[in-house]
């Protein structure tokens, strides 16, 4: 996960600055929920993440989507940037959708982060980022084992289980 963060940093820093500039002139100040935590495993289940929908809009339409969160103080710093956490609109690239968020404190951008590509094909460029389980076909094998793990059998169904056979063999 960290490696991909580093890989994206170049793009993100640039994007964050651009978003930051946009934010500084952004008029609507509507509190929203905090930016989504970078939570790949969960978001992967959502077939079409909400941010992707806005990515088809023209760049100029992105401005209103960048809103300060509830924890934004609203006070203007010396640079004209408002303190708070700001979320950029989602940007779609051939590898997936990236959404940048920045934190402004004391009029300066103090942190930038981003959600990662979450589409299926992103796994090819971003393997460590997604701690996904790998898919295969279910095998049916017979092997010599010491114990069998399975859904809990009852006292009655035990006699038909593989574990019962093992117990018999080792008794």
């Amino acid at each position: 996960m960290r490696r991909s963060t580093a890989a994206a940093v170049g793009t993100l820093t640039g994007a964050a600055l651009i978003v930051g500039v946009r934010l500084s002139v952004s008029a609507p100040v509507v509190p929203t929920a905090a930016p989504p935590a970078v939570d790949l495993a969960n978001s992967r289940q959502d077939a079409d993440p909400e941010p992707a929908a806005s990515s088809t809009k023209k760049p100029s339409s992105k401005k209103p989507t960048a809103k300060p969160t509830e924890d934004a103080s609203g006070e203007a710093g010396g640079s004209g940037l408002k303190n708070g956490i700001f979320k950029g609109s989602a940007a779609k690239n051939p590898y997936g959708t990236i959404q940048v968020s920045i934190k402004v404190a004391g009029g300066k951008i103090t942190a930038a982060d981003a959600t990662y590509p979450v589409t299926g094909d992103s796994a090819t460029i971003n393997p460590p980022a997604i701690a996904a389980l790998k898919q295969s076909t279910v095998k049916a094998q017979s092997a010599d084992v010491d114990a069998v793990s399975g859904a809990t059998f009852t006292s009655a169904s035990y006699v038909k289980s593989l574990q019962a056979a093992i117990d018999q063999a080792t008794a």
Binding site: Q45, L133, K134, V145, V148, S149, T152, S155
Partner: protein
């Protein structure tokens, strides 16, 4: 020494591979069986006189319960939070901590064995396994994961030492795991196996993932960071496993 004990509505297989006098091994097995029956008397929802039944009928308050009961209630509450509510001791209505108790009781049993001098053993409580040290062959314990459709076949074979292997599935006792969000039987996953250091947690995680349905696949992926690997099979026969699954070669 090998022993199979009927207790807690299932059978617990105990395999001690230590090179110790037979009498010592026999005494250890007796101690473990005594403990498991004590757990059954205290936590069985099928016994009217169990502590859990008296707690259900509000004859006793949670604060007046035994140390073990208070531990179990606390652990169930922690797991409820940790699993976004999918591990729910109240999923079926009244308190039923069975989903935690079995794994926990075997985890405790294994610790008791280790304390008594057995550092090489494998305890299998109806499909939930806690292994320590090495098997009688001098190699790690080989634990098969039951194939979710073919009862006499295995879908994975693991090689484990000092680890727990817990499986929850819908194929053995039908719809007994419910999605607490919908109240409907869990759908999507046929079998979920979690491998990790603690059987109580591994068992609860497997049950929670089963309740989540396919969303459980991504949730399990996050657990690998905490040292819990997994292998699962979906209702339509797809298999998933984490990279760290200790598959035997």
């Amino acid at each position: 020494m090998h022993h199979a004990e009927h207790v807690m509505g299932t059978v617990v297989s105990i395999d001690l591979a230590d090179n110790l006098p037979q009498d010592d091994l026999r005494a250890m097995i007796d101690d473990v069986c005594g403990w498991l029956h004590e757990v059954d008397r205290r936590f069985s929802t099928y016994r009217d006189d169990s502590e859990v039944s008296r707690l259900r009928r509000r004859e006793i308050a949670a604060t007046d319960c035994s140390t073990d009961m208070r531990h179990v209630l606390e652990a169930c509450a922690d797991l409820w939070r940790e699993t976004d509510g999918y591990f729910d001791a109240y999923a079926a209505g009244p308190l039923d901590p069975s989903g935690y108790v079995k794994g926990w009781s075997v985890e405790v049993a294994s610790a008791r064995l280790a304390e008594a001098g057995s550092v090489n053993h494998c305890v299998n409580a109806g499909g939930d396994v806690r292994a320590r040290g090495l098997s009688g062959t001098g190699a790690p314990w080989r634990v098969g994961i039951r194939h979710p459709w073919e009862a006499d076949k295995l879908s994975w074979v693991l090689s484990v030492s000092d680890q727990a292997v817990a499986t929850s599935g819908t194929y053995e006792r039908g719809d007994h795991v419910f999605n607490p969000r919908t109240g409907a039987p869990a759908r999507g996953l046929r079998s979920v196996t979690v491998v990790g250091p603690d059987l109580a947690l591994a068992d609860a995680y497997a049950t929670a993932a089963l309740a989540m349905g396919e969303g459980g696949i991504a949730w399990l992926a996050k657990l690998t960071a905490e040292g819990y690997d997994s292998a699962l099979v979906t209702d339509d026969g797809r298999a998933f496993s984490s990279a760290g699954l200790p598959a035997a070669v």
